[in-house]
Amino acid sequence: MKVLVVDDSKAMRMIVARTLKQAGISNLTTVEASNGLEALTVIADHKPHAVLCDWNMPEMKGIDLLKKLRADGNEILFGFVTSESSPEVRKEAEDAGAAFFIVKPFTPNAFEAALTPVLAH
């Protein structure tokens, strides 16, 4: 499974990739992008199965990336990994088509709980 990790923090991209492995996601490969705009290029080039995306980033925020993908007809599995945790933000993510929402700080168990149901489909 190829997963795109989008976060403007290189440290967080590494931690997310590490946590995916710890959560036991099988046959995992990861690709990275540092903002939404860069993610559009990586998605076109690498065709990942899923996107794990931060909310606040320069150039293009995560929610704008999701809206752009859906507007273009791309239904890729998309979820947020973010320190944003307010009900308003969660609702905006769900309304835009996010399949899961993981709040930082997180644990491998949180990844497993969020991803297992959506990866089963």
Partner: protein, 148 residues
């Protein structure tokens, strides 16, 4: 809900110890060599106007970055060290924003070096928690601009 010292400490603990596995112990503000420190600040605006700051000696920042990148300290670049401290304040700020009622937005973190301004002094009047992190102070301050 408003943020008190206990809530702030819990958020800092969840980020640094719970997620990153750093050794963290609450402590009174420690005397500290302030000649080479890093400060990471994030702004919350909207319903709750506030600034959140993480302040730490560079050697602690390096230890945190080493943990986050899973790299030895001498392999780290300055950009990676600042990235790590910025992500700490991003997580703390984001969690605090989620606790306070009302819609607010979170800025991107801003990280810079602090020197010569006694950053570890006792004069700050806002909410502040101090922890011993990997042997040195890790201070988190919240300046509530709505209340001041």
């Amino acid at each position: 809900m408003t943020i008190d010292e206990q809530t702030l400490q819990q958020v800092v603990f969840d980020v640094c110890s719970g997620m990153l596995g750093l050794q963290l112990e609450p402590t009174p503000l420690l005397p500290c060599d302030d000649s080479d420190a890093l400060s990471a600040v994030i702004r919350i605006s909207g319903g709750w106007e506030s600034l959140v700051q993480v302040l730490t000696p560079r050697r602690t920042a390096v230890a945190i970055a080493s943990n986050m990148f899973a790299m030895s300290e001498d392999e780290l670049s300055e950009e990676e060290i600042r990235d790590a401290v910025g992500e700490i304040v991003n997580m703390v700020g984001g969690n605090l924003k989620g606790i306070v009622e009302g819609e607010s937005s979170l800025s991107l973190p801003c990280v810079g070096a602090v020197s010569g301004a006694a950053p570890f002094d006792h004069s700050f009047s806002g909410l502040c928690v101090s922890n011993n992190c990997q042997g040195d102070p890790l201070i988190v301050r919240v300046y509530d601009r709505t209340a001041n």
